[in-house]
Symmetry: C2
Subunit: 162 residues, 2 copies
DNA sequence: ATCACTGTTTTGAGTTACTCAAAACAACGC
DNA sequence: GCGTTGTTTTGAGTAACTCAAAACAGTGAT
């Protein structure tokens, strides 16, 4: 019973967030934000596919434009795991890290590492003014582990790394 | 007076290492190893340029082949900092990390992070079997910091990130 | 030293994940 | 509604690779 109101509320909220960031509110930008909510660690291509479902006239380039603008405006963050295209997420400004399945590519957020802000100080900074530390954990997700033990094949859902 | 002997010793050593890894010893592979010794965090293109100085007939593809074979054989490691091409290094099997200048792209090795093996355990592993943790520190190198404070321009040496 | 076998290199084409630019279009303030 | 300026579309262009076939060369056996 609340779905219509919820969608409206989210739409209004999205519009406000876009405007607050100095960006004009357009259909495709709204659709890209919605796609990012639906798929929190997706590539431009994947987001384009999601956007195209509701807005078939949109171009991939527009999705790239929107994502680039979002990143510049601090509304979205771009991560780039080795061997994969850039992935985008709305979680921003909390310096969280990522846990990625080396088989199926699934991505999970990791709030922080055990211990007190551990990964912010290298043993030897070589005179650098260190600004951020990026941590990526690589492992096997439960689904792939399961698939490997029961059958012979992994549970491919995203692109597998060779 | 020892330079000739040193070069021979290194050459022999390189040949042995290649053979031990099950790889045939060829001129281009030796040249790629030498290039990797000279430039410890270089891209395939950069290594190709170094190799081409002594072996002008070599193709870029051969450098890619050699590097791929080295990585497969565990002789080299490939890192892929966000927004940059893949970089290769001979330091392998010690799980060290990297400190990268976000202005000029300079790369330093970082032995480990302060504290006891801190970056190996995410706060919540989401059921994943975590295998490795990759840490990348981004900062400003001394040269760029200097250049920024004295002049208006950074000390560009590698490719700058926008 | 030569040969055959098999791995390596070269050449050339193809792909992915983008970026750049110009012209058509649309949001927003008036 | 209208003009301004930002956005989207279209289309071309690029970097950093990967793939494949044919020419070539290391290696162990002879």
């Amino acid at each position: 019973m609340t779905s219509h109101t919820d969608v409206d509320a989210r739409a209004v909220d999205t519009a406000t967030r876009l405007r607050a960031a100095g960006l004009r509110v357009t259909d495709s930008r709204r659709a890209v934000v919605d796609a990012l909510i639906e798929r929190p660690h997706a590539s431009a291509d994947e987001l384009f596919a999601v956007v195209a479902r509701t807005l078939p006239a949109t171009s991939l380039q527009s999705v790239y434009n929107a994502l680039g603008d979002f990143v510049d405006a601090g509304l979205a963050r771009r991560i780039e795991p080795a061997g994969r295209p850039g992935l985008f997420e709305l979680r921003v400004d909390d310096n969280h890290h990522h846990l990625i399945c080396s088989q199926c590519g699934a991505v999970e957020d990791v709030d922080c590492v055990v211990g007190a802000a551990p990964c912010l100080t290298p043993a030897d900074a070589h005179g650098y003014a260190v600004q951020v530390a990026e941590v990526t954990f690589w492992g096997i997700c439960p689904a792939c582990a399961n698939a490997a033990s029961t059958a012979g094949e992994p549970a491919a859902s995203v692109a597998a790394r060779p």
